[in-house]
Every structure is written in C-alpha cells, then in structure tokens.
C-alpha cells in the first residue's frame, strides 16, 4: 500500500470496542485523505442534523496521503466532525508531528464514536491500541496533560489533547497537539470533551512506502526549491512569522479594528511581525517536514505577562490586538499562551471578547451583567482575564463561552457579532478586500480565511495581483482558491506551500507517493468534489444559502478612515455569479448534473 496505510481505526467510546477496517480505496482516490476522506466518512455515517455534542456525532482524526513523507511542509492532519459553534461540517487542521505519527502507527483515520461516561484517553503503539483511564489528567491544562501522559506511556509519544475549555464544552475549544499546535476552529475540542476523550497518544514505527521513489524524490526537490526560493514561503514567513501581515493589512486599510468598526489601527506596528522578531523572538520553529518554519518561539519578560511560549500567529495578534483596540504585545502574547494552555481557538476567543467590548461600550452589556467588570476596548488586563474566565466558564465567561453570536443574541443584538454562520471572521476586512468577503460568506465552515485565501492575489500579489477593491473576476478567483485548498488540505499539506507551488506540483507529489495518477485537472476536480460534498452536508444540516451572507455592519457601514475609507462589501454583486459558476441554483443548492459530474450523485 502506498500513500494510504489502508487501515481505519474505529473506537467506540460507549462500548469501548476497538476495531480496524480497510480504507475504501475508491473513496481515497476520489477524496484524497484528511479533510476530504474524513468528510466522506462523516457524510456516510452521521446524520447532518445531529446535535454536535451528542454521542451520535463522530470525531475523526485524519492525516493525508502525503503526511509523514518528506513532501515539504506536508505533515498535517485534520479533525473532522460536525462543529458545535457553526453547526456545519468542521474540519480543523493542525501541524506538528502528530498527524505523521498516526500514519507511522498505520492509520489513515481514527474514528471516535459514542461517548464515554468517564474520562479516557486512547494509547496507540502501532497495532496495539487501548483506552485508558484519564481521570488523573481531567481538569489539567494542555501542557501538563501532555507531560503526564508521556510519562505514563512513552517519553517520545505525540499527544493531542483538550484543555479545561474542551472539557467544559466551550463552543470554540481547540484540540492541541505537541502543546502549541492547534486544530483550532469550529469547536472540535468541545466535541472531544463531550465524548469525555481527553487525549490521543501515539507512537508509530512502521515504514511508509512510496509508489515511485524516483519520481517522488524529484517532485520533492522541485517543490522544496520553489517554496524556499519564494519571497513569502522561503524568506518572509521564517523571518517574521505570519504576523508579518499586521503592517501589510493595515497599510491597505483592511485591518479590522475595534470589532470591525474601523479598518485601520494607527499603532498596529507594535503588534506586527517586525516588532515580534525584534523584541520577543527566540527562534523560528518548523512543523514536521517543514521547510518554511513560520512557528515562533518567543519570550515575554514583563513580569505582568511573563511567559516562554510560542506564537502569536497573525490572526491572534490581530484579534487580541487591533480588534480589541489593544496595542500591548506583551498582553497579546500572554493571551495566546493562555489559549494554548487552556485549549481555546484564538480567533473566536479574541473576537468574542471584542464583541463584548463593543456591546459594553454601546451600553447594551451593563456592569450588572458582567458582575461589575468594565469590558472596554483597549483594556489589556481585562482582555487577558477574560480568556481565563471563558476557559473556566467563570462569571461572564460562562456566556462568552458560547461564542459572539449566541452571546450578542442573548442581549438582543446579534448584529454585533462579526461572524458568518455563527463562526467569527478573522483578520481581513471584507469591505477593503472584496474577494475575501465572498469567501467568508460562502465558506463551508462560516467565518474562516484558510479555505479560500484570496488575500494572496488581492493583497500580496501572489501568484498575480488582483485589485482588492474590484468585484469583477472575484467569484471565479474565490472558487479556484476554495477548490485548490480543499484538495491541498486533503493531502496533508500546509496551506503555506501555495507560496511557491500549486496544483501541478501537489498532483505530482500525490501521484508519486500513491501510485494513482492525478493530473492537475484531477486534483482540482477532487477539490471541487470535496467542496460540494461539504456543501451537501451543510444543506442537510439546515445551513442553507440564506446564511451565505456577512454581518450588516460590513454591507452597510463604510470603513470610516484609512486607505480603504468609504468602502463596503459588495457581496450582492458577486454571490449570484458565484452560485452560477459553481453549478448551483439560485438558492445555492448544487444542481443534479453538477453532483453527477463530481461522482457525488
């Protein structure tokens, strides 16, 4: 077997029965692996209308066919389930070594079903698999859990676990592997918590065979060279991390500020990658097989926020920074550290706090509601305090743990939530960058940037520059990026490889590893297929075309100042064409012939 291990590990947490079954190789060919293949399994086995936190939902850990190989920066895995935050199919991917270790242990997927009554963790050493009692680590944070479970198993084991936030079902809880790598979005950690599954601990020692070693080595060298020679993939991300984007987005007036009231933050440079490198960076860090090394090992010496940790990513620095009206990088790094330690998605956590600040300043949220706590824009101390309160569901944190949409709705003003399909949008103002707005509105997991990163062409000019303010050509651009990313995610690749390579190189790697010939067209078509499969799941879950929209603030209130002053999102000019080009009807439902064409009928 090449690329795929050919085995799925199934763990029923209710009956404690552990079984192994063969991977359906026809499905593997069509849906590749990771995000695609796991979504196919979810679609086949789970009713999309299921309560995400019920035992009927399933939780799948899935590396891709390129994970574990030396394909550059391609060692990732996806966690696929129905997300409790957005009610859509959730696929959150993460780097580090965990996904590759699952491959070495011999599995294309680990499927968890049912729910345990008492806390458990799964211990895998190749074909030996056992559920063990986790009551000793229940309640512990991510870092301590990781250390303790390694002490109980193997000191070199790879650990993916939840923190207190996942245990307490915070709707945007993450799953953390190797302490600092996050399957962050959509609340996959809460699903794990609902199943009383504290961790998955893996040691894998099996070889991964490659179908065509010669072609593989050649494809690796080509991809490596292109990524490493690219100014973003090879230089920018290692020097400054993803946080290099703060000053870039601010310079084009599209850095959402104070809960998206504005698109420009005058003191943003204090939060940028340049400042991070100069004042905090200890060294860059890379995930498994990575040639980019965007990870940041950092140190804060200010005693108030002192920590030795990793991060922050751009979206995190923006969220706890500009979106909360804060320019104190010490506090931002601390908030990021707490999110990793407690197991929270930084984007939803930060923007939910920003939403609370907005509601408070508007007088909608009062001191009576907050237990006397003033929650104002620019207050770094309160922001950091709220992160802990959310994870522990303490005081107002118990309500914030539901995410900004449910929180704002509770106070009668859901329009204060800067979210799509109840998931918070990240760090790119759709009023200033038209294509990303269309992507937010149509993304299969709601507010999310990593499934159609049109910021590349619209702002960075990669691979070619598009006018950020134009709507023409954007539907086609968004679709191309969404399809490419769906296929790319499904291989186990990191999105950042697209700073250097594209479908052609990925198809070559995939063909060489698996022995199944993928042309560039086959690869893109697989992406289209995966996208439509996810769409079908969401439609069946009741998340229909009426939710393909943006918050009113972005459609009606122009950006008040800065380089994108006066702009609003012109989503209505793009959405109908998007549906049409996708082969969907006016309500956003895929037409029968489209499903036929993609072998989804």
């Amino acid at each position: 077997m090449f690329g795929w291990t050919g085995t799925i590990l199934r763990v029923n947490l209710t009956t404690r029965k552990i079984t192994k079954e063969p991977t359906d190789l026809n499905d593997a060919r069509l849906f590749i692996g990771a995000r695609g293949l796991a979504t196919k399994l979810l679609m086949d086995e789970v009713d999309p209308r299921v309560d995400p936190l019920s035992p009927e939902n399933k939780l799948i850990f899935a590396p891709g066919p390129l994970s574990g190989t030396m394909a550059p920066s391609m060692g990732r895995y996806d966690v696929v389930t129905k997300g409790p935050l957005n009610g859509t199919v959730a696929a959150s991917n993460s780097g580090g070594s965990f996904g590759s270790e699952v491959k070495f242990a011999g599995y294309d997927m680990i499927v968890f079903e049912g729910a345990s009554e008492t806390p458990v963790y799964l211990w895998i050493r190749d074909d030996q698999v056992e559920l063990r009692d986790a009551s000793g680590v229940w309640g512990k944070n991510v870092f301590d859990t990781t250390d303790l479970l390694r002490a109980e198993t193997d000191e070199e084991a790879k650990v993916a676990c939840i923190g207190p936030a996942g245990e307490k079902l915070v709707l945007f809880a993450s799953i953390m592997n190797e302490m600092h790598r996050a399957a962050g979005r959509s609340g996959v950690g809460a699903v794990m918590g609902s199943k009383k599954l504290k961790a998955v601990v893996v040691v894998g020692t099996n070889p991964l065979e490659v179908a065509n070693p010669e072609a593989f080595e050649k494809a690796v060298m080509v991809a490596r060279k292109k990524i490493m020679e690219h100014p973003v993939g090879g230089t920018g991300l290692r020097a400054y991390g993803t946080d290099v984007l703060v000053n870039i987005l601010n310079s084009v007036g599209s850095l959402p500020t104070r809960n998206f009231h504005e698109g420009y933050f005058p003191t943003a440079d204090k939060l940028g990658g340049e400042a991070l490198t100069e004042k905090y960076l200890v060294r860059p860090k890379g995930c498994y097989a990575c040639v980019i090394s965007c990870g940041r090992v950092v140190k804060v010496t200010n005693p108030k926020y002192a920590c030795e940790t990793e991060g922050p990513e751009y979206e995190t620095a923006w969220g706890f920074g500009a979106d909360c009206g804060i320019d104190n990088m010490d506090a931002v790094i601390k908030a990021n550290h707490l999110c990793n330690e407690l197991g929270l998605d930084t984007i939803s956590c930060a923007t939910t706090i920003a939403c609370a600040m907005d509601l408070y300043e508007a007088g909608i949220l009062t001191p009576q509601d907050t237990g006397g706590m003033a929650i104002r824009f620019g207050d770094a101390e309160t922001m950091v305090r709220l992160v802990e309160m959310i994870a522990n569901r303490e005081g107002i944190g118990d309500q914030l743990a539901l995410g900004s949409y449910r929180f704002a709705e509770r106070y009668g003003h859901p329009e204060y939530s800067m979210s799509v399909k109840k998931q918070e949008m990240p760090a790119y103002d759709p009023r200033g960058v038209q294509g990303i707005g269309l992507h937010y509105a149509t993304s299969n997991r709601g507010g999310c940037h990593v499934r159609g990163y049109t910021i590349s062409p619209e702002v960075l000019g990669v691979p070619v520059k598009y006018d950020q303010h134009a709507t023409e050509g954007k539907p086609e651009l968004v679709i191309t990026f969404q399809n490419l990313t769906a296929a790319l995610d499904s291989t186990g690749s990191c999105l950042f490889t697209t700073f250097g390579i594209g479908a052609e190189e990925l198809a070559a790697l995939l063909s060489a590893v698996t022995g199944v010939e993928y042309s560039t067209e086959d690869f893109m078509k697989a992406g289209d297929r995966i996208w439509n499969l996810e769409r079908m799941f969401n439609l069946k879950a009741g998340v229909t075309g009426e939710f393909d929209t943006l918050p009113e603030r972005l459609l009606k209130n122009p950006i008040p100042a800065g380089p994108s002053k006066g702009e609003v999102s012109r989503l209505d000019q793009m959405l109908p064409e998007y549906y049409n080009l996708r082969g969907w009807d006016a309500e956003g439902v895929p037409l029968p012939e489209k499903l036929q064409e993609l072998s989804l009928a």
Binding site: P72, E156, E178, M179, P213, E217, P284, G286, E308
Partner: protein, 159 residues
C-alpha cells in the same frame, strides 16, 4: 583536510527533514527508525537537538568491536562500519556514550552515520543550515569567533 558534520541546535527548527532524507536515502522509503540522525525536541522550551555519530577520534565502538567491523581506515575521519564483518554482538551499541550506534532489527544491522560517502543527505535537506558538513578547523574557528564576539560586545558595553 578533514570534514565533519557540525550541528547547531540554536538554529534547529525541529522539522526532522534530516531524519526523513537520511531514511529515504538509505531505504528509498520513509522509516524514521532507519535514520542515522535523530532529532529530540523539548516542546515547552521550543528547543530541538539533532544527534548523530560524532566520528570520535578515540572511538569506543572501534575499541570494543571484536571483529574489526567498526574500524577507522588510516588517515580518515570517518568511523567505518563493515556489515560483512559484523557479528551483531551490539558491543558498539553499548559502548557509544551518545547512543549514536543503534541496532536495527528490521535490517539486522548497526545504524550509524557514514556521512553518505562525503555527501550527507541530512545536510542537503536541512532548510536552515542547522547541520553543516565543513572543514573541522573552520567549524571550531567559527564557534570560537562567535563566542569571542560576545566578549567583544560585553567589553564594548563596559567601555
């Protein structure tokens, strides 16, 4: 001049490209256990250290080898391993103070770095030059100079 593989843990990102390249070169597949180089990472501190055969001058593996399978050819830096002479007694495994000679049950042989005959795959694969294959004298000079630089800076501050 003698060349050695020099590691710089301060630059290592923990990506393990060296491990993958080594195992692929040796077996044309991916099996980290077959790699002659291993990387250990400390997640809390964010530090990674690559480990491989040091090609010791006074090599314990050569001293204890009863058959001459572990040997050093005259005038060479490399500690040579001859599988044909090896009786798999694993004395070298026990003698190596670094744990860099490993017995592999899959191939029934001792795994230790042979510098890929002077063209080490790990060095070529490292994206950040945390492993280098360089002249011994240059490697020590650059390290000494880096330390001297710290002295220089300290003196400049005092002055």
């Amino acid at each position: 001049m003698a060349k050695i593989i020099m590691i710089h843990p301060d630059k290592c990102t923990g990506c393990k490209n060296c491990v993958l390249a080594c195992s692929f070169k040796k077996e044309q597949r991916i099996r980290p256990a077959a790699s002659r180089i291993h990387v250990y990472s400390w997640e809390r501190e964010g530090i990674s250290v690559p480990m491989m055969c040091q090609q010791c001058n006074d090599a314990p593996c050569v001293s204890v080898c009863p058959t001459g399978a572990m040997n050093r050819r005259f005038g060479e830096t490399l500690v040579n391993y001859d599988a044909a002479k090896c009786i798999r007694c694993r004395m070298c495994v026990q003698a190596c103070p670094f744990g860099n000679a490993i017995y592999d049950s899959v191939t029934d042989s001792i795994m230790k770095c042979d510098t890929c005959e002077g063209d080490p795959a790990c060095v070529a694969a490292c994206p950040v030059h945390a492993i280098e294959y360089i002249e011994e004298s240059i490697s020590t000079r650059s390290r000494k100079k880096a330390f001297a630089q710290k002295f220089k800076e300290a003196f400049q501050e005092v002055a």
